[in-house]
Amino acid sequence: ELKVEQNPLFLSMQEGKNYTIYCNYSTTSDRLYWYRQDPGKSLESLFVLLSNGAVKQEGRLMASLDTKARLSTLHITAAVHDLSATYFCAVDDNFGNEKLTFGTGTRLTIIP
């Protein structure tokens, strides 16, 4: 059974600082996704990582995937208040049917 762990679960950081969210998973997979959720809203896709060594960047966010270590990171550079949200990673279980197992999420709060 695929397990996906994120840490930290809660993160409070000051504007302008850098930080990293970690996503570990328990079985082999080469497809990993990052989503963002604002309070009371749905999830929106941030990054799709489809191979070992994949790196994607969008603004102050950068995601990477190491399939050998079964680890993905979401790095935040020079945080701004607008990045406050809950971030989820999700991993394809590779058994077909495109099923994703989600981490528990990281609630990020950016403090001015």
Partner: protein, 113 residues
């Protein structure tokens, strides 16, 4: 133009009553999923569908059933609602190519009293 819509957006129901949530897509995607979101648990898969009349269970399927009689609609039924089924329910769709992941609906907030 939303490619996926859920209804209702909010519902309060009594324990023991049946409840049906609807997910409708206009993308002609093969795969459809129902997840529930609860604090501390992230999103957990209830049921999913890989085609018309083709469905399978997820990790938290007890007390739920689904039906997909046409490509665009995926229904989730709580056969006899319990307070433990109070949650936010999300429907998601996927084209099956893996390149884009899921597109989520807006969610249904269900309260069982």
């Amino acid at each position: 133009d939303a490619g996926i819509t859920q209804s209702p957006r909010h519902k309060v129901t009594e324990t023991g009553t049946p409840v049906t949530l609807r997910c409708h897509q206009t993308e002609n995607h093969r795969y459809m999923y129902w997840y529930r979101q609860d604090p501390g648990h992230g999103l957990r898969l209830i049921h999913y569908s890989y085609g018309v009349k083709d469905t399978d269970k997820g990790e938290v399927s007890d007390g739920y059933s689904v039906s997909r009689s046409k490509t665009e609609d995926f229904l989730l039924t709580l056969e006899s609602a319990t307070s433990s089924q109070t949650s936010v329910y999300f429907c998601a769709i996927s084209g099956g190519e893996g390149d884009y992941g899921y597109t989520f609906g807006s969610g249904t907030r269900l309260t069982v009293v």
